[in-house]
């Protein structure tokens, strides 16, 4: 294994460990939280960070640290749900369009063109506006925007793969279409899809938080980072800890997942392997 590849693998290991640590914290969040994230204590309204409340409290006297820890779970779960949704939908549609060609391809591609014509966030806001605010609705709205990217990638790869010799050989051998797609084309496409998905995790998390910030995703009093940022807006100068800590949590998480995505790309990049 080359030196570059080796270095990339070490980086991947580090960021994977960090990401797993974050996921672990998210899963154990409710157990780690020192307070009930929903319990209000009016006497402790807007306390600055101290021994009792490490990250301070919000207007209702709720502990920010507990809210961040408990909010991590939903942020992570929804992000991964979205990643799974968009990769599965995008891959299936991309395979179908690329392999079938003709009418199927035409219709699916035009549908994608239509969806791509709208700026992503604006489209998601419009969709949530129509189907109603709510955390799962928002995931659905964002998924509706994001799958096109994966479908395009998979389609273009499928188009170039479907006339390759090994596919023809499988075809002459009597393999069914499903088998060709599943056993011969999909394995070729998958590394690219995984790389793209890994690099998108951070973006998706930010998009979800953004819609929450606008009041479209999470509903109060559920602790959610984006909504916590929205609540802190009013207290930007008087209680800055309300903004700093959820912001930091978001920053650190997105950074770790973005770096993880980069490392995955480096490791799976065929160019690295050939050196």
């Amino acid at each position: 294994m080359s030196r570059i590849k080796n270095k990339a693998a070490i980086r991947l290991g580090i960021f994977l460990a960090l990401a797993l640590l974050l996921i672990g914290i998210a899963v154990c969040g409710p157990q780690l939280a020192p307070y009930d994230p929903l319990a209000s204590d009016y006497t402790a309204s807007l306390s600055s960070p101290d021994d009792l409340h490490l990250f301070g409290t919000d207007k209702l006297g709720r502990d920010i640290l507990s809210r961040i820890l408990c909010g991590a779970g939903s942020s992570f779960f929804l992000t991964f749900l979205m990643v799974v949704l968009v990769t599965v939908i995008g891959t299936l549609i991309g395979l179908a369009a690329g392999y079938k060609g003709g009418m199927t391809d035409g219709i699916l591609m035009r549908l994608m063109d239509i969806l791509l014509a709208f700026p992503g966030s604006v489209f998601a806001i419009a969709v949530t506006g129509i189907i109603g605010a709510g955390i799962l609705n928002t995931v659905a709205a964002l998924a509706l925007v994001w799958w096109t990217k994966y479908a395009r990638l998979v389609r273009s790869m499928t188009v170039s793969l479907k006339d390759r010799d090994f596919v023809w050989q499988a075809r002459y051998g009597g393999a069914s279409e499903i088998k060709i797609l599943g056993c011969y084309i999909l394995p070729e496409v998958l590394p690219q899809v995984i790389t793209m998905a890994a690099m998108d995790i951070g973006n998706m998390m930010i998009s979800l938080a953004g819609l929450s910030f606008l009041g479209l995703a999470s509903q109060p009093p559920a602790p959610e980072w984006g909504y916590m940022l929205y609540e802190s807006r009013q207290y930007m100068q008087t209680a800055p800890w309300m903004m700093i800590f959820p912001g930091l949590a978001l920053l650190v998480t997105v950074m770790v997942f973005n770096l993880l995505g980069d490392s995955v790309r480096d490791v799976l990049d065929p160019k690295n392997g050939m050196e």
Binding site: A133, G215, L229
Partner: protein, 544 residues
């Protein structure tokens, strides 16, 4: 934009005595704020920055010694035609429009363009229009001109009919006679509503949207819809010389942006700052804060027609289970009793009959048979956990509704009632559908400082805004009596009684009376916060 932030911080530190703590956060906060702004997360700021740059340029255009005031206003309308929607409110707030009667610092009706009035019978009111008043274009203001302006409001805005039902008007010299269809005890107060601004109807109707000719201390110079109004002094003003040469009013809808505009010195006067940020202006050497309780209240309406909430005892138990005085304190309101704020006499006589008492609330719920039989901490009705839906909307740009709702949710959980919070952008649809248990509101319960109209709309059976489906024949009858009572003191007395009755029914959950505020830089003097927020710029405001 951030050059003056330092002084802002120090001010706050001095005032609050938490300096050390904040200094620690200061640097980090500023970088976070910068990042936030750069990312365009804060929707309002772009607007502020835009209007600001315009503001600076127009301020620079003024000569050094001219008295020019920059105002950061929370709302600039799409037109300035007083008969169009609520646009007259803007016209009045910027010191351009005036009405026959106005509401003073005590929310009492005092003469403005009409110097006196009398009631000759149940249906007839006679107003004496002040002699020697002219519109800003020099045209005389006589009874005919006033009649035309009021008639125009009735012709163009359906809201007019809610204030009084016009039979006919007569103009004779300076004497204006108004005949109403119904006896209307509130007519004098209701004529203070800026919808009835006296505009010169003899000028080209085309100019009404952008530059209506009125009688106020300032004249509209330029108008950019929803963005900026500039005004100049009205040399023909009837009530002394206005204190300023010119004014720029910028639309800054976001409260935080108004705070920044004040701190940076881009605005000399602003209003409606979020309570949480008022402490930033506590340094008296730099700023002056004017605060007074207005008729606006934070309220959660019960849907009186929904299962459970249609039981009076259930509503009473809910009213007792919420610690509303603490919420009011938390959001910086005055704790509420009944529906009228203490800005009105009728609001001062209502007695709170639901002090916070979760114990008694639980007992009432027990006695109604709503017990927790499966031990999950929630009471059941018909074998299912009780769950009430509470709709929230960010009314008038305030986050108070969400804070109240979360506090109510938390307190009701303690007595075993589950509340589901739902944010909505379109509260009027939710109300119209009747598909809710609670809904938040920030309502002015006496928009013209008179108690009648709000009762008629919100509590009369079948009232136009009675979406809470409140109905009590006794209250209906008392509202009828109120309409035909003319003595102001008796009206207040009667309104207080009605408010007490609605409270006994636990018709709605009134949380707090909202303080209106105006903040000025120390260069500005003569400003005031009126209980009724039709007035912001007055002739008395001056700037050094």
């Amino acid at each position: 934009m951030f050059s003056t932030r330092k002084t802002g911080w120090n001010k706050f530190c001095n005032g609050q005595g938490v300096c050390e703590m904040l200094q620690k956060w200061k640097r980090l906060t500023i970088s976070v704020i910068c990042a936030g702004l750069a990312a365009g997360v804060l929707g309002g700021c772009g607007n502020a920055a835009k209007t600001t740059s315009e503001g600076t340029s127009s301020a620079d255009a003024q000569s050094q010694d001219a008295a020019h005031l920059n105002v950061a206003m929370f709302w600039v309308s799409t037109s300035l035609d007083p008969a169009d929607g609520y646009d007259g409110w803007v016209l009045s707030r910027i010191g351009a429009g005036e009405t026959l009667v106005k509401l003073d610092e005590n929310a009492e009706a005092v003469p403005c363009l009409a110097e006196s009035w009398e009631q000759t019978d149940d249906y007839t009111w006679v107003f004496q229009i002040r002699e020697g008043v002219t519109f800003s274009n020099g045209n005389p203001v006589d009874a005919q001109a006033c009649m035309n302006a009021i008639q125009r409001a009735f012709d163009l805005n359906t809201r007019s009919g809610e204030y009084f039902q016009l039979e006919s008007m007569e103009a004779d010299g300076q004497t204006l006679t108004i005949h109403t269809i119904q006896p209307t005890g509130a007519i004098v107060n209701n004529l203070c509503e800026p919808l009835f601004t006296i505009v010169d109807t003899s000028v080209d109707e085309q100019t009404m949207d952008t530059a209506p000719v009125c009688t106020g201390p300032y004249i509209i110079d330029t108008f950019l819809p929803e963005t900026e109004v500039t005004l100049v002094c009205n040399g023909n003003y009837w009530d002394g010389t206005p204190g300023l040469d010119s004014i720029s009013v910028f639309s800054v809808p976001d409260s935080d942006s108004r705070v920044l505009a004040m701190q940076s010195g881009e605005a000399d006067l602003t209003t409606t700052i979020d309570n949480s940020n008022l402490a930033l202006f506590s340094d008296e050497s730099q700023y002056t804060i004017y605060e007074t309780i207005g008729p606006r209240t934070n309220v959660a309406y019960y849907n009186n027609a929904r299962p459970l909430l249609d039981e009076k005892e259930f509503r009473q138990a809910v009213s007792m289970a919420v610690d509303k005085d603490t919420y009011a304190e938390l959001i910086g309101c005055a704790p509420a009793t009944g529906l009228y704020s203490t800005a009105l006499v009728c609001g001062q006589q209502v007695e709170d009959i639901y002090p916070y008492d979760p114990q008694q609330a639980s007992e009432i719920l027990d006695s109604l048979g709503y017990m927790d039989t499966d031990g999950d901490g929630l009471r059941e009705a018909d074998g299912k956990n009780i769950q009430l839906q509470y709709y929230i909307a960010a009314d008038h740009g305030s986050a108070d509704a969400a804070i109240i709702a979360q506090a109510v949710q938390s307190d009701l959980k303690k007595v075993g009632i589950d509340v589901q919070l739902i944010q909505t952008e379109n509260m009027s649809d939710v109300r119209a559908s009747g598909n809710y248990d609670f809904c938040s509101a920030n309502d002015s319960t006496a928009p013209t400082a008179d108690p009648e109209i709000f009762l008629v709309q919100h509590y009369l059976t079948g009232g136009s805004s009675n979406y809470q489906q409140y109905s009590n024949p006794e209250v209906d009858q008392l509202i009828g009596t109120l309409s035909s009572t003319f003595d102001p003191d008796q009206r207040q007395q009667l309104a207080g009684e009605i408010s007490q009755k609605i409270l006994e029914d636990a018709g709605s959950l009134y949380i707090g009376y909202i303080y209106g505020n105006t903040v000025t830089s120390s260069r500005v003097s003569g400003a005031a916060q009126f209980p009724i927020d039709y007035y912001i710029i007055t002739k008395d405001i001056t700037i050094q």
